[in-house]
């Protein structure tokens, strides 16, 4: 048997309709004086949380040299195959290889951070830089110089997922419920 739903009888003020209209209009009016949620983007920039995965950087060591040893672990780990590395002999005493070219195709990159996880030398990091804009496809392929320059621009930022942030612990996922909040400097 079908369930009979008894419709509640409307009160007089409900049937008059206007009290509800006025209620609704006062609600919209009250919203006119509330704080607006719009962010005026180019002038006001959002404070990105620590651990934000923006554009990559190639870290430099204390002698201002590239840290990367061209092991290609990041290129292997990359699920989007966006990293291209060509190594060469370094000629330095402390390591054999450094990259001749190091290219990241920002159009292919999915910003997963697995390259950062894979790096044994803590040489690649992700930054808060989100200005990934260009008018040609070629310009979206970042080369070694550009990635190193991004390190100079973001020196004051902590590395995103690298060992510098984790204190040597390798864990790809952060524990549930532990939010990555901006620290005091706003990074």
């Amino acid at each position: 048997m079908a369930i009979v739903v008894k419709a509640r009888k409307m009160t007089l003020s409900e049937r008059l309709y206007f009290p509800s209209i006025i209620k609704g209009m006062l609600l919209t009016l009250s919203h006119m004086f509330k704080k607006k949620v719009t962010m005026q983007y180019p002038e006001v920039q959002k404070i990105l949380p620590v651990g934000y995965r923006g554009a990559h950087r190639l870290n430099k060591d204390d002698q201002d040299r590239v840290k990367c040893v061209a092991c290609e672990m990041c290129a292997v780990a990359c699920p989007a195959h966006c990293i291209t590395i060509e190594g060469m002999e370094s000629g330095w005493e402390d390591r054999e290889k450094i990259p001749r070219t190091f290219q990241i195709d920002m159009l292919r990159c999915i910003f997963c951070g697995m390259c950062v996880e894979a790096c044994p030398e803590d040489a690649i990091d992700m930054t808060n830089n989100i200005d990934l804009v260009a008018i040609t496809r070629e310009a979206m392929i970042w080369d070694k110089d550009r990635l190193l320059a991004n390190f100079d621009d973001s020196k004051d930022q902590k590395g995103t997922l690298g060992q510098s942030l984790r204190g040597g612990q390798v864990s790809f996922t952060r524990p549930r419920g532990q939010a990555l909040l901006p620290d005091k400097d706003g990074h």
């Binding site: 209209i21 919209t28 919203h31 006119m32």
Partner: protein, 352 residues
Amino acid sequence: MVVDPILMEGVLAVIKIVILLGLVFTTVAYLSYAERRVSAIIQDRLGPNRVGPMGLLQPLADGIKFMWKEDFTPANADRTIFAIAPVIILVPSLLIFAVIPAGGEITIPAFSILGLQVPETITRLQIIDLNVGILYILGMTSIGVYGIALGGWSANNKFSLLGGIRASAQMISYELSLGLSIVGILMLTGSLQMSNIVGAQDSITNWNIFRQPLAFLIFVVAAFAENNRLPFDLVECEQELVGGYHTEYSSMSFSMFMIAEYASMTAASAMMATLFFGGWHMPFEDLFSPALAVIYQTAGFIIKTAFFLFVYIWVRWSLPRFRYDQLMGIGWKVLLPLALVNVVITGVWMLV
């Protein structure tokens, strides 16, 4: 040589028409800006604020955009009707403004220019004071239906046609209540002339809103339906009809529909101010010198109209759309009997 007063009247009429059209088009342009801005503010956003200071040049940018778009006509459209439909709806909505008084009488002192002696002239801030003013306005608003119905029919698109059909049914039903709600005022005033209706409301105590509150309510609802504004915008509802009668329109012919909508909105707001809120009569107008009083009164009239325009936008972003049968039900079963009752009550009140 002395200028003939009749010629002077003609020249003044042309000047007034030019000023009024300029005002109306500016209002319409900034109404589209205001609609976007107010809707944004109501929804906790900011709205267009990039073109010019505070985004005030946005209407200009919109206009330029409209002009450069392709004016497209569908392959199987009735080309002639398709082309003239926007004109049929735009022209009457502008013509309404001819009889709406924006202020009292002003005196232009005698002066001479290029050897011509211009005598002292008294003129109204109104293009023409027709003795059938209200009838003229009702006639003009009902012509607008043809523009919508023809525009919807000629486009050879089922959505447009549905919009056009809805428009004709809706506007004809609500026109009755619109007309009947004014009858009470006409009975009290005893005149169809706009200047007399305004003249009868010379102090705030005899503004028609206090004498005919029910008529005002009916008038507002019917005017919203007449202008196809939310909550009665079934004619152009995007969700069901993809835009209704103007689905197939583009470029300037589309913008003519928009101008017509905003112009008739402005006209309806001016009507509300004129018929129910004392027109250009303002409280404390005796405190000013005659010249200042005219400015004060005209400014008051503009503020009243602007307030009702704001109410239009405010309601649009507050209330959801009616269902079609509810719309017809309210029109025929509620508003029309209420308007008739109002007429009867007014008659009884006048006799007693």
